[in-house]
Subunit: 363 residues, 2 copies
Amino acid sequence: MASPIQHDHDIPDDDELRTIYTFAIQLAKDAGKMLLDSLYARRRDGQDGRTPSNPSNEDVTPQELTTREKLNAVDIVTQTDLQVEAFIHAAISARYPTHDFIGEEMYSASHSGATSGTSKEYRVTHKPTWIVDPLDGTVNFTHGFPMFCVSIALVVNQVPVVGVIYAPLLGQLFSACKGQGAFLNEATRLPLLGSAGVGPIPSDAPRRCIFSCEWGKDRREGPTGNMRRKVDSFVTMASEVDGPGGKGGMVHGMRSLGSAALDLAYVAMGSFDIWWEGGCWEWDVAAGICLVHEAGGLVTTANPPEDWEKGRVEDAKLGGRLYLAIRPASDCESGETARQGQERCVREVWRRVRTLDYDRPGG
Amino acid sequence: MASPIQHDHDIPDDDELRTIYTFAIQLAKDAGKMLLDSLYARRRDGQDGRTPSNPSNEDVTPQELTTREKLNAVDIVTQTDLQVEAFIHAAISARYPTHDFIGEEMYSASHSGATSGTSKEYRVTHKPTWIVDPLDGTVNFTHGFPMFCVSIALVVNQVPVVGVIYAPLLGQLFSACKGQGAFLNEATRLPLLGSAGVGPIPSDAPRRCIFSCEWGKDRREGPTGNMRRKVDSFVTMASEVDGPGGKGGMVHGMRSLGSAALDLAYVAMGSFDIWWEGGCWEWDVAAGICLVHEAGGLVTTANPPEDWEKGRVEDAKLGGRLYLAIRPASDCESGETARQGQERCVREVWRRVRTLDYDRPGG
């Protein structure tokens, strides 16, 4: 991929970065409020008359309400996605007109003529670039399940340096800025229990670990489909130690939330030990990667490289669509450092998973 | 199962029930605060010194902290479980001395001499009986993942008539009382979007549904193990419509939270359309069943009965260890009632799942 010439005056220094960080947090709060307003507007519109505080529905038949709601269920989500992204884009353009901007909605719209989603090109240059998902966890949002969020990141030289994830119905705002750590609700440093609190990576990992994974949208059956590749991997991770091929991982728990951004936030929090995923995009992960790094975690690729047993554990490529994240950790009494423990855990996952088949040009 | 003679004066009337409901909500709040205090005590004890607000750790080596934490990680959970249950039991005994009490910890302790967990007998009589899980989602709690809760129910004549589930790190308190509906944080009636907001059960259900499921602790490999029975069922529910045996469910989302009580709370909220589970116990589901019923949902058995296509959809047996819950719904324009839509959804699930192998004497 050709990169434009890099202008040094575009690269924010530490002071500027702190200002940008404060700006991004406020932006996420405002966007999160828009999401909540939209959710509750739907609640009002979809009111079934059982709640006495909404007398305006008295003359409306259930049928009318149902129809109106069925329209809303689709419309509101689309509208909310677009409105929130437009709001964020406008705010960023006004404040940082020289920065690039990539938002999920705008990106998808600009590719509406493409024949397939897989033709999406990776467009992040070395310039400061805002990468935004106005609503991650859309299905959760339509169902009123709290695991939805807005995700805002600033990426410089391909590295996420500011990341903010706000889940307004949970009341949880996760934020990180390069060199400054990661925080919950601007008050509690992540990981939540402190890196000694979450402890070293267990010596028998992935045992005693919480493994977070998503089923995704690719549901083709058959041995070569991504769903089968994922499920085989999930089963190996979950099985008793004598399980498939003697590779059973016997993880402590299997979790699926339906939001990649929140999966990464909970890895940063130390709540999930391992997150393994393929198929998502840079706007799903940019902010989360910043959070995990600043909390002391690691993000590499989901697919085991050829030299997976001994080779270097590389950072995940932002646009690579394949991610494996390991939580922050403390050093171990045995002398193993936190990083060594994390890399051991990475290899234990690579040993147990099938390769996933997601690709993109230029990624 | 022999039932003791039923004393009518033990059965609470509507006024008494409202008093009990208020009492149970306060009890859940107090217990939830104990859980949070325990979590944050662990945070303090496990502090790694990176947070400047904890200078007392300055002279402690990382090794010492790690050891101390490793002890805590086990001890605190056990202690928390026991302490919170003892607190709840004492409060209930003082206030309602004629009521029975079944708590997870006490129950397990009284069976410590049994050779197997499956020998646990069902002990709920027709008397008013409090059924309590002081900490549901223990693995989540040890990891600081917010999906843990206290669950408190009052069961009369085998029917949960009061149910309170409080997830203190989420700040979400779910409560229900027979005949009075279900609520979030004592303010918002469930389902969250109103039953018109969540709409009728989709005509092509389980498509467009969120399917909630848990992997559980039984991880034996092999075709007869419960894990394989579950995974086969998950895959059928998830697969594209042309999937396994033409039975692919193509559900919109697959979710696993690691807490049966919260799974049921989110069914009551309308966030999960379907929850299908085997292996949990009455303390995991008693409060949640009350919530689902009061919100307008349905709870039946996970295992398809012989006449699954046409037979009556029976209520789940409280101690049956097999549960299938369907969210609240509105009537459909086509004339199908909410209940008919829910039963249609039940049969669509039964059509796609394998039977699970969980049993108990007297259940």
